[in-house]
Amino acid sequence: MNAKRLYNLTNLEAVANGDKDFIKKMVTLFLQNTPAQSAELLKACTEENWQQVYFLAHKMKASINLVDIDLLKEEIKKVEANAKTRTELEMLHPAVEHIYKIIFNAAEQMKEDFDI
């Protein structure tokens, strides 16, 4: 566990109230769903399906906040808002690529940390 962690489970640990199984369950759920959603987000963005970009960004926002990926918290909100209002569309592709990459890296860190 050398590299700086992209995620922070302090909030989840507070909710867990000492239940380590719960934390592992949450990490597993993140790994099962969020990387796949980020791949779908990238695909929707490439296809310029802005409605789908909005929907996926909206759904991913909660998971990103739960595992506290600080680097993405503002970015995912901006993607969601711009896709919804169809504004600043030119920023969406690089932002979504960045989100995909960070999610992928965070997921790798989690697998390492939790031996999954």
């Binding site: 909030n11 989840l12 909710v15 867990a16 109230n17 239940d19 719960f22 369950k25 949450m26 759920l29 993140f30 769903n33 969020t34 929907f55 909206h58 759904k59 926002k61 909660a62 998971s63 906040n65 739960l66 969601e80």
Partner: protein, 464 residues
């Protein structure tokens, strides 16, 4: 008694988020939490009538406002908390208008805010559960079979009328001597009627000072009279959609009767000192121990009001006319008193039963209750005998006092006259109760030793 758990449904398609909410809320052992990932799954389970529903505003198969409308239709008592990924004031206001109880945005504080929102709703839900439990208790208490005891023919007729009264909203007038249970009959009718979940408000007209009765019935506005420091709702408004029981209506002042008549005709009231006309929907039950037609003749009761109130009349018989009901009711009060006071089971002896059966009970059921409760205290063992029944009716002294010594015959005449006075001059009934021949009584009447009218009337008659 352990309170019922608060049933919470979490409708959220994000598995991580829903798991967090379930885990967090389940920390409270008083919460029973279930999660659903789609509107369809949740609607399949809505017959369980959850206390609280947390609703994700964006679901794959529905939107928050669509599902909110369905919840309000299928489970109107469920409280709905919307949890949305976006802070949108316009949407929030719209959802509040449609019946949502809270609107929480998904952020770092969501769990805490949800916890507080549920805590606030919980107090409300627990009060409601308590109210429902009390209502259930009251309904059980005023169940026809349990509330009014008796199986004498005269009471079977009363039960039949009570059932008719309960199945409609007709005005009911209950007459009967003091202590015959007029208020119990009124409550039983209400708690077996369609209005049973709505208020039963009783007012004893005789107990309210004449000057205050109008304000008691119709309410008053602030400053309408000295002492009216704030607006107060009257009994008519308190009883809205329920039942208003006007006990001792015969004692109402004639001027007040005119106001009551207007209210009953117009179905609206105006608070004292106010101008606002307030529509009322109240079922009226009245009771009196007076003979209202007689009161009308004397000019003490308005004839128009009498006919307005008459409705279905239920005449409650005096206890002395109810035969074996006396023993049934006595047993009921004995069991109740012994249970409440941990006295063990007690029974009436044969002689005690005989003593109760021949006593005329001028105070009716109220008097019977006092007599048997005292007997329960006085009896050391399981049996209550006739000596434990201390009958102290004021009328009894009528034939034992007077200063001068009487002959046995004079005592007999006074005793028989007393029974005639208290048994509506029913010669056959008195002969049966005193175990003497009815021809003996008729002979004494012919000899002017006994009178078939009240002594007071006799005195007036004699004075003329």
């Amino acid at each position: 008694m352990k309170p019922k758990p608060i049933n919470i449904c979490i409708v959220e398609d994000d598995l991580m988020y829903s798991s967090v909410l379930v885990h967090f809320l389940s920390l409270n052992p008083d919460y029973a939490v279930k999660k659903f990932t789609s509107a369809k799954d949740f609607l399949n389970d809505i017959h369980e009538k959850p206390d609280i529903v947390t609703l994700d505003y964006t679901l794959p198969d529905s939107t928050g406002d669509q599902l909110l409308a369905q919840i309000k239709e299928l489970s109107p008592d469920s409280k709905v908390i919307i949890i949305s990924g976006q802070e949108d004031i316009k949407v929030a206001i719209d959802l509040f208008k449609k019946g949502a109880h809270d609107y929480i945005v998904k952020d770092a504080d969501t769990q805490e805010r949800l916890w507080m929102a549920i805590q606030n709703l919980r107090e409300n839900i627990e009060l409601k559960q308590e109210l429902q439990s009390l209502q259930h208790e009251v309904e059980k208490k005023y169940n026809f079979q349990k509330a009014v005891i008796g199986n004498s023919p005269v009471m079977k007729e009363v039960f039949s009328l009570m059932e008719k009264a309960s199945s409609t909203s007709i005005t009911v007038s209950i007459t009967g001597e003091t202590g015959t249970g007029k208020d119990l009959v009124a409550k039983t009718i209400h708690f077996n009627s369609e209005r049973k979940k709505l208020p039963f408000v009783a007012i004893n007209v005789a107990a309210i000072p004449r000057d205050l009765l109008e304000s008691e019935l119709f309410g008053h506005e602030k400053g309408s009279f000295t002492g009216a420091t704030s607006r107060r709702l009257g009994k008519f408004e308190e009883a809205h959609k329920g039942t208003l029981f006007l006990d001792e209506i015969g004692e109402m002042d004639v001027n007040m009767q005119a106001k009551l008549l207007r209210v009953l005709q117009e179905k609206e009231i105006t608070r004292v000192g106010g101008n606002e006309i307030i529509k009322i929907n109240v079922r009226i039950i009245v009771a009196t121990h007076r003979n209202l037609p007689e009161e009308i003749k004397k000019g003490k009761f308005r004839e128009d009001l009498y006919y307005r109130l008459l409705g279905l009349t239920i005449q409650l018989p005096p206890l002395r006319k109810r035969g074996n009901d006396i023993i049934l009711i006595a047993k009921h009060f004995i069991d109740l008193f012994c249970t409440e006071n941990s006295l063990g089971k007690k029974n009436l002896s044969v002689e005690a039963k005989k003593k109760l059966m021949i006593y005329p009970f001028p105070g009716n059921i109220r008097e019977l209750r006092s007599i048997v409760e005292l007997a329960c205290v006085m009896a050391d063992g399981e049996e209550i005998d006739e000596n434990h029944l201390q009958i102290n009716h004021i009328g009894e002294n009528n034939f034992s006092t007077g200063g001068a010594a009487h002959t046995l015959r004079q005592y007999n005449i006074q005793l028989i006259q007393y029974y005639l006075d208290n048994n509506e001059y029913d010669v056959i009934e008195v002969a049966k109760k005193l175990d003497i021949g009815k021809s003996t009584l008729y002979r004494m009447i012919n000899n002017n030793e006994l009178k078939l009218y009240k002594n007071t009337v006799r005195q007036m008659h004699d004075e003329r």
